[in-house]
Amino acid sequence: MFLDTLISLDPVASALVERARVRGAYLIWRAQERTCARVLVRAGRVEDVATSVSSGHGIHVVDEHGGGALASRDDFHGEPALGLFDRALEAAGHAHRLGVPPAFLSGLAPERARLQPPGLEAYRRFDPSRAGKRLAELEAEIAARAPGLTTTLALSTDVDAWRVVRSDGGDVAWVMPRCVLRFSASSRGTERHTVGASVSGPSPDLLDDPAKVATFLARAEGAARLAAALPDAPSHPAGSYPLVIDYALAKGLAHEAFGHASEADGFRSSVLAKDGRFRSGDTVGAPHVSIVDEPVEGDHAWQPYSSSGVPRDRATIVDRGRLADALTDPWSAPMSGARLTGADRAESFRVAPLPRMSNIRIEIEGASPAQGAFEDYGPEEVRELLASSGVLARHPEVVYLSGYSGGQVNPTTGDFVFNCKAIYTLGAGKIRLHKPAIFSGSMFGALHAIREGYGPLLLDAIGTCGKWGQSVPSSGGSHYFLVLEPAPTVRLGGR
């Protein structure tokens, strides 16, 4: 259904492949059709419904001397496409004048596949007016639970269809459906704080899915209560502390601290590489800690094929404390010494794909159980969990970082930061709320500091990764909670 247009482009694809053959060039052709919509509700009324369509194709050529160039255009007409190919090849010929080193690609298995996940018909049925009414109902329900705040609800839908054809015979096409239901609450006093929450799913029907809605309402209520409480909360002193982080922050830690440094396009400078080669086998964390990246079906960041048309593999970046797999694409894998994991993704047909994460998680061997749903755990329940497992006997006071609000890393130095939505100090008989503060440190210090995990894996923490100016969906998680021992290289900001 959503691949019809791209599949109908066989004549264009064939003509481009033939021209590449005649001109002795290697071709990767990427066609994309993406349809997005967003319904936004504030104070019970629809404030905005915006839609966009973005379609076109990108022609990545490598000439016989290894010169490369990428040309793109936002239509699918045959003649302009061939003209674009010629411009790209001409530009590739200029590359050596700018000191561009040659780069060749070979030996890829020519995968041929079509993949459309089930449930896409829900996007055809999607009715923005009805969605607006439903969002207003949910807003009213949240206001009843946590009154006195200014709230915003938005539903975003995104159907992202791709086809990648290579001159070596590869031809894959797939559709990535994504929906996100977001909430934000702002306090109304003189000092205002804003706190957000979200749930995601592969279908706009999530608005009618009782389980998703219940999770959303629980998270939104928590965010609203936090927005109301933060103006009166003090700042937490800066320093190194015993920490508990939730699964969303653990996703941030995995993504910022390790994921980016394991992306093979940066191995000339990454701290996880030496002389451009991945430091596979090196010990980088505690032996009970692993970091895994893989596309998860139905997930916000699911992508079954790479933007070079290679099936995306599971990558065990850290296997029980040791570096194992890197996130590689066909260009970087041979130089990196790591196996090809098909990790390249692109924001659009206009840009060159880069190795990057999909759903990344931290797994702890022997994690302790935690009963019930994650949303059942407020700071008191977290304290009980820590008390019953002896953590509070080891550390009379533990700093609990709750909720992820984005992060950043410098893969060259290994310095990472991410921010939380709230800080609680948990001690015997007392719980105190503090304003959020930056959590920063060195990736090695952080991974060695992880001591315990609680609860099952929860992988639905979502975000947007902005590497090299390209935004793509990201996701991940961990066990409900991780405990980190104090480490001098892992610090909480603050005052």
């Binding site: 629809v46 160039a69 530009a91 103006p231 940066g266 000339r268 400078s269 880069l354 310095d415 900001g493």
Partner: protein, 436 residues
């Protein structure tokens, strides 16, 4: 730019028994050339020489039953599938009485936004890029940087706004930008409508290299606390001005999701220190943020947002101008047309000397994770230089900084600082800094 099919379809559209009562289109047709360098490899497969052609149109439709449709069409829809696109637009229509305004003809100011040399590069002439790359590579080699990354970009774009009220205005502009980052640490760059001259380019590059070299030495250990911090103009733009603009957004003011309330505009109570002004002037010739008209067809003009520390106007499109009963304003599209002003800025040298014992914060990690509504910030500042006697660099501090942006902008201790070659002033203020 041929929009005839789209205009024809709009004027004749009938959906659900409704016709199009009014419409506006803001279309852009662009051609762009980009050359990246990633990990010292120029034009690598991850940062290739890239050429792109695009046409997109942002539209607003006011239907005869008063409903509104908004969206973005791509070239294929504009040229081939416009009937389908309009049918889908009707399906997504919604009630919004404040969004019904469609502008008519007006007098549009002239401002230089086109440069022939950039136009040539955007068309594929890569030769002018070679000397720039050579200069960067020579400095990388001379100073022993392990790696560098960056990009050079040139584009030409025709922007056109048409409305059912008879407005039809078009302009041809160019854009030029470059940036280079050394050892993944610190960099330099600029965006303009025309190329910076060679002397300015080299001077900017050399200033960045000087601080990159200074970052190689570690500072001696020092305690944390409230110290004089000199924020580089890049940090001022990214943090202070971005936070102000975020909270000045008309939607945030109207809905109460920002720091500023409607009643604070034109009130006597200052929100910033009483000698600070924030204004925007899109009529600066060849600035990256220069333009003649907005996407709604509003003529460009200078706007003051804050004067004497008091709020004057939010950033207002026609919808939120009507909602707040204020006049619509053009909005900034780049920082080089935004002016943070106050008392005569101190020279960099004087300010650095005044900040002795404190630090120069050149870059921060995690700006996008901050809550701009509260103004509270807590960030990592890995590119920070200790400042010693006379303002001399005292080595690198890895630090976290924290505080409240509004408190700093209200502080009597705040000083604006003129940095060589920078449009935006730096800020010298007392700030909590904790070396790691």
């Amino acid at each position: 730019m041929d929009l005839a099919a789209l205009v024809f379809a709009l004027t004749g559209a009938r959906e659900d028994g409704c016709f199009v009562d009014a419409w506006s289109i803001a279309a852009t047709e662009a051609r762009r050339l980009t050359l990246g360098t990633k990990d010292a490899r120029t034009g690598s497969p991850h940062a290739p020489l890239a050429l792109s052609e695009s046409l997109a149109a942002r539209y607003k439709i006011v239907w005869s039953d008063g409903r509104i449709s908004r969206g973005v069409l791509d070239r294929r829809q504009i040229e081939q599938d416009v009937a389908i696109a309009l049918r889908e637009a009707r399906v997504t229509s919604y009630e919004d009485p404040d969004a019904k305004i469609v502008l008519g003809p007006a007098a549009f100011p002239d401002v230089a936004v086109f440069d022939a040399a950039v136009d040539e590069i955007a068309g594929g002439a890569v030769e002018p890029l070679a000397p720039r790359l050579a200069a960067i590579r020579a400095r990388v080699a001379a100073h022993g940087f392990r790696t560098w990354s960056g990009s050079l970009q040139a584009a030409r774009a025709t922007a056109r706004v048409l409305t059912s009220q008879g407005l039809d205005v078009e302009t041809l502009g160019t854009s030029w930008s470059w940036h280079a980052t050394f050892d993944g640490e610190i960099g330099a760059g600029i965006s303009r409508r025309s190329p910076d001259d060679e002397a300015s380019f080299l001077a900017r590059l050399d200033r960045a290299i000087a601080v990159a070299l200074a970052l190689r030495e570690d500072a001696s250990k020092r305690p944390g606390g409230l110290v004089p911090v000199l924020f580089h103009p890049d940090v001022v733009e990214e943090l202070f001005i971005a936070a102000l603009l975020h909270n000045l957004d008309g939607a945030a003011v109207a809905h109460g999701t920002g720091a500023f309330r409607r009643e604070q505009f034109d009130a006597r109570e200052p929100v910033l220190r009483e000698d600070l002004t924030l204004r925007h002037d899109p009529l600066v010739p060849l600035a990256a943020g220069a333009y003649r008209f907005t996407q709604e067809g509003l003529p460009a003009r200078a706007v003051t947002y804050v004067v004497g520390g008091r709020l004057v106007s939010p950033l207002l499109d026609t919808k939120y101008a009507r909602r707040l009963a204020l006049t619509p304003t053009p909005s900034p599209s780049a920082m080089d047309t935004v002016f943070l002003e106050g008392p005569e800025p101190r020279s960099y040298e004087a300010a650095a000397a005044e900040a002795a014992g404190g630090a120069l914060v050149l870059g921060v990690l995690g700006v996008h994770t901050q809550d701009f509504t509260s103004g509270d910030f807590s960030m990592s500042a890995p590119q920070t230089l200790a400042l010693g006697d006379g303002g001399r660099f005292g080595g690198r501090l890895r630090a976290t900084i924290s505080g409240n942006l509004f408190a700093i902008l209200r502080s009597p201790a705040l000083r604006l600082v003129a940095f060589p070659g920078e449009h935006t002033p730096g800020i010298l203020a007392l700030c909590h800094l904790d070396p790691v």
